[in-house]
């Protein structure tokens, strides 16, 4: 979970670096093409190419932020599920059900066979609790975030990053 939060922080950290670069270069282009008096076909081509690359840069910054949001949400969701599982495990352990700390699964319950009286009843209760916990654990695992990042990040990046190294204008 800490790794995911840290990754989200790194993604968020890249956003201002891209927007700062974009702002600095847009100022430069404005200085030479508008204030500085660079005119003509070359100036127009360069200015137009930069406008398009600048828009792509802003979209790229948005993509990094989007990935950061997804990873952050994943970290929060996983932390919540982990807490819920730990609480459930603590609850059933208090009722006498052993939970394997390595796997989080309930240790197979002692069968009531051969036991009598309160011992048999306790064994049955522990068996039921273990089954309930195992069911809760299975449901929790099913609730893990699904393929949302796979779909949305890919689509987002594909739609917002039309850059081609040699393909932009800016003829001089």
């Amino acid at each position: 979970m800490r790794g995911l939060s840290s990754l989200a922080g790194r993604c968020y950290g890249i956003v201002p670096q891209i927007t700062d670069v974009d702002a600095a270069l847009t100022r430069q282009v404005s200085t030479i093409a508008h204030d500085g008096g660079w005119r003509g076909a070359a100036a127009s081509a360069f200015s137009s190419a930069w406008d398009s690359d600048s828009a792509a840069g802003r979209q790229l910054a948005g993509a990094w932020e989007h990935i950061g949001d997804l990873v952050d949400a994943l970290a929060v969701e996983l932390a919540g599920l982990e807490n819920a599982l730990e609480e459930a495990a603590r609850g059933v352990e208090q009722q006498g059900v052993a939970v394997d700390p390595a796997t989080g699964s309930p240790v197979p319950a002692i069968a009531a066979g051969g036991l009598t009286g309160p011992a048999a009843q306790a064994a049955v209760t522990r068996g039921q609790l273990a089954a309930e916990y195992a069911d809760f654990r299975a449901r929790t695992r099913r609730e893990l975030p699904g393929p949302r990042p796979q779909v949305s990040c890919r689509q987002w990046l594909r739609s917002c990053c039309p850059l081609q190294v040699a393909g932009t204008g800016g003829r001089v």
Partner: protein, 102 residues
């Protein structure tokens, strides 16, 4: 040449330097392979997250390369204007020499 022409040339050279510097800054933002993906708790996420990060890193590197190519274009424009200025100056001198009484 006029002062205005000189200002444009100086601005082009300066802008070329700024584009080159900012290209380096952007490259360094995603240096190496960029951020690595930790365990996401699920096989689908563990396969998708590195892919999304890789795509974002590649695109960021491409943007840095595009910015660097703009720096080269500005430098080329500066060079061409500079050559044109020298050629014009030489032409003026030759024409002046042809004038009677000079």
């Amino acid at each position: 040449m006029s002062d205005g022409y000189q200002v444009v040339m100086a601005d082009l050279l300066s802008a070329s330097g700024v584009f080159a510097d900012e290209s380096t800054t952007l490259s360094q933002a995603v240096s190496g392979e960029g951020p690595s993906a930790p365990d996401g708790g699920d096989a689908v996420i563990n396969s998708a997250l590195p892919e999304a990060l890789r795509a974002a890193v590649v695109t960021t590197s491409q943007l840095a390369a595009v910015i660097d190519s703009h720096a080269h274009k500005l430098r080329t424009a500066y060079g061409r204007y500079h050559d044109a200025e020298e050629t014009s100056a030489q032409l003026c001198q030759q024409l002046t020499r042809l004038l009677p009484g000079t």
